[in-house]
Amino acid sequence: MTLAAATAHPRSATGARIEYTSVSKKFGDTTVLTGLNLTVEPGEFVALLGPSGCGKTTALRILAGFETASSGTLTVDGRDVLPVPAHRRGIGMVFQSYSLFPNLSVADNVSFGLVVRREGKAKRVAKLTSLLDLVGLPGFADRFPAQLSGGQQQRVALARALAVEPRVLLLDEPLSALDARVRASLREEIRNLQLRLGITMLFVTHDQDEALAMADRVAVMRGGGIEQIDRPGVLYDQPSTDFVARFVGTTNQLAVARGAAVPELWAPHQDGDRDLLYVRPELLLLEASERGSAHIVSHLYRGATTRITAKIEGDISHGSSEIKVDVPSASVTELPIGLRVQVRLTGRPALRMEA
C-alpha cells in the first residue's frame, strides 16, 4: 500500500497499475513470451518496442484478453485479470487497422461502448460531443468510416475507446498505417491526451522514434522478454546491451584495445583482444587529415543536420566498416565526398563491451 503510493506516478488519479509476473506464452512449440516481468505505474505511458516476433503484441493481447497466458500472473490494480473475459476487463484498445464498425456512423461507433453498457441517451450525446471535440473532429458525427481519412478514422477509434472511460488503454501500432505527417501530429495528440486524462497506456510499436518521443518509459523487447526498460534518455545514452544500443537510435561500433582508455582520436584497432565502443553519430567528429583512417563516401541531408557516412580502411573485424556521423548541415562543405578524415570522439560512448 505504502509502496504503491510511493511509486505511483505523480499525475495519476484515474490510471490503473499493471503488473506482469513471469507471463509466458507458447503457440505449439514456439515460445513467444518467456516469463515477462513488467510493472506499469498508474498513469504511466510505457512503450513496448522491438522487432517483429519479439512478443510485444502478444504481451498486449494477453492483457486485453484476446490471448491466454501459458503461465504467470497478470494483475490490474492488484486484481488478477487472466480469468476475466475480454469484455469484462474494462481495458480499451486501439488497433493498427482502426477497426471502426463500417456499418455505423461516427456517432454510433463512439457510442457503441455506452450503448452496450446501457447508458442513457443524454449521457451518450454529451459524451459524444466532448469526445469528438477532444480528438478534433467536431461535426463528423454523421459521417461513415469509409468517408474518413486514415488519420480521422484512428481519431474516431481513439474516441470510441475513451468513451467507456477505461483505466488502461492499449495501443497496438496505432500509427503504423498512417502517412508520416499525420503520424507525427497524432503522436503528439495521443501523448497530450494521455497526460490530460491520466490513463495508463501501453503502446506497442516497432518504430523507435515513436517510442522515444511518446513514452515515459520504453521497454525494449527481444525474443519474448524485456531486454531493457528505462526512460527514453537513459535508453539512448546508457543502453545496457549491444542489442539495445543497436536497436534504439543509430550507433557506431568502434574497436579499441581491451581495457584501454577511450581515445580522443580513434583509429582501427588491429591486433590482440578488443573492446567495442558504441558511439552515437552526434558524438563523433570528422577532421580532414592526410593520415586519416577513413574517407567520406556519402552525405544524407536531413535538414538541420547532415548524416555523413565514412568508410574505414584497415582491419575492421567486429567493428562497423562504415561510421555514421551527424554534422550541422552548414559545415558539410568542409567535408566533401572522397575527403580523407580522422575520427574524433567528443563524448562518452553509450556502451563498451568485449568484442
Binding site: 484478453g65 456499418n103 461502448g113 452496450v116
Partner: protein, 291 residues
C-alpha cells in the same frame, strides 16, 4: 447468327461490347424464363371450350388439402430459415475466428449434399428412422424417431432442408465473412464491453447482411419447391399436394404452381432490394469518398 458474331467479338476485346448486345442477352434470358410461365398462365386462365376463367384458381384454393399443405410448408420454411441461420452464422464465425484450420474440412462436409442426390439422402434417412423405430414401442430410439417425424412439426424435414442448403450457405457466409476484418472488429467490440451474443447481433450480422439475406432467400426458395425429400418422408407439403391434385385437376395444379412461382419471384425481388439497402456504408463509400 449476328448475335453470335457480335458476342465472339465482344469476348475477344472487352472494350468493344456492342451497346445492344447486353440488352439482347437480357431479353433472351427473360424470354427463356417468361415463355413457359406465360404459356402456363394462358393454360390456367383460358379453357378452349368456355373461354377465360379463374375457376382453376378457385378450385385449387378450395381443395380440402390446400390450407393444410400451405401451413405445413410455411411452418417448415420459417423453422428452416431460423434454424439454418441460428446454426450456420455462429458456426461460420467460430470457424473463421477460432478454427480456421478446420475450414477446408467443413467446406467439404457442407458440399456433400450437392453431390449426393436428395433421393439418396431421403432413402438413407428413411432407413435410419425405420431401424430406430424397430427398437420397439417406448424405447428411446423409437421415441426419437417419432419425435423427428411428428406430423405437425416435421423436424426431420426441417433438418433435411438445412442440410440441402449447406453448400450454398457455406459459400455465401464464408465469402461474406472474408470481406470484413472479422477478428479486429470482434476484438474491438469485446474491448468496448460487448459480450459474444452482442458482438454477433450488433457487429457481425449487420456487416454480413447481404450474404445472410441471400441464405434466407435461397432457403425459402428451396422449402417452397422441394419435392423429393417431402414425398419420400411422407409429408404433404405444397409441391407434394400439387402433384397429387395434378392427377384429378391438372389446370388447378398449374394455376397453383404459377402462384408459388410468382411468390418465389416476389421474394427474390424483395430480397434483392433489401440486400441492396443492407450496405449503406459501402454505397456511401463509393459515392462520397473525399480525399
Amino acid at each position: 447468327m449476328v448475335q453470335m458474331r457480335q458476342s465472339t467479338r465482344a469476348t475477344r476485346g472487352i472494350r468493344v461490347v456492342a451497346p445492344g448486345l447486353s440488352w439482347a442477352l437480357i431479353i433472351l434470358v427473360a424470354l427463356y424464363i417468361a415463355v413457359p410461365m406465360l404459356c402456363a398462365l394462358a393454360f390456367s386462365i383460358y379453357v378452349p371450350t368456355t373461354g377465360f376463367t379463374f375457376v382453376p384458381y378457385l378450385e385449387s384454393v378450395r381443395d380440402p388439402g390446400f390450407f393444410g399443405a400451405l401451413s405445413l410448408t410455411l411452418l417448415i420454411t420459417v423453422l428452416t430459415v431460423v434454424g439454418l441461420l441460428a446454426i450456420m452464422v455462429p458456426t461460420m464465425v467460430y470457424l473463421h475466428l477460432k478454427a480456421p484450420r478446420w475450414r477446408p474440412v467443413i467446406e467439404i462436409v457442407c458440399t456433400i449434399p450437392l453431390v449426393v442426390p436428395s433421393i439418396a439422402l431421403a432413402a438413407g434417412l428413411v432407413t435410419v428412422l425405420r431401424s430406430m423405430a424397430s427398437f420397439g414401442r417406448g424405447s428411446v430410439p423409437a421415441q426419437i424417431s417419432q419425435l423427428l417425424q411428428n406430423p405437425d412439426l416435421p423436424i426431420v424435414l426441417v433438418g433435411s432442408y438445412i442440410v440441402l442448403t449447406l453448400p450454398f450457405v457455406f459459400r455465401s457466409l464464408d465469402a461474406g465473412l472474408r470481406t470484413i476484418d472479422l477478428r479486429t472488429l470482434v476484438e474491438s467490440a469485446h474491448s468496448l464491453g460487448a459480450s459474444g451474443a452482442t458482438v454477433l447481433r450488433r457487429v457481425i450480422l449487420p456487416n454480413v447482411k447481404g450474404p445472410v439475406i441471400f441464405c434466407a432467400f435461397f432457403c425459402i426458395a428451396l422449402c417452397l419447391g422441394e419435392f423429393t425429400m417431402a414425398v419420400t418422408l411422407g409429408y404433404r407439403t405444397l409441391p407434394v399436394w400439387l402433384t397429387q391434385i395434378a392427377g384429378s385437376n391438372f389446370r388447378a395444379s398449374i394455376s397453383m404452381s404459377l402462384l408459388i412461382n410468382a411468390l418465389t419471384w416476389a421474394l427474390l425481388i424483395a430480397m434483392t432490394v433489401l440486400a441492396g439497402r443492407a450496405a449503406p456504408a459501402r454505397v456511401l463509400a463509393l459515392k462520397g469518398h473525399k480525399s
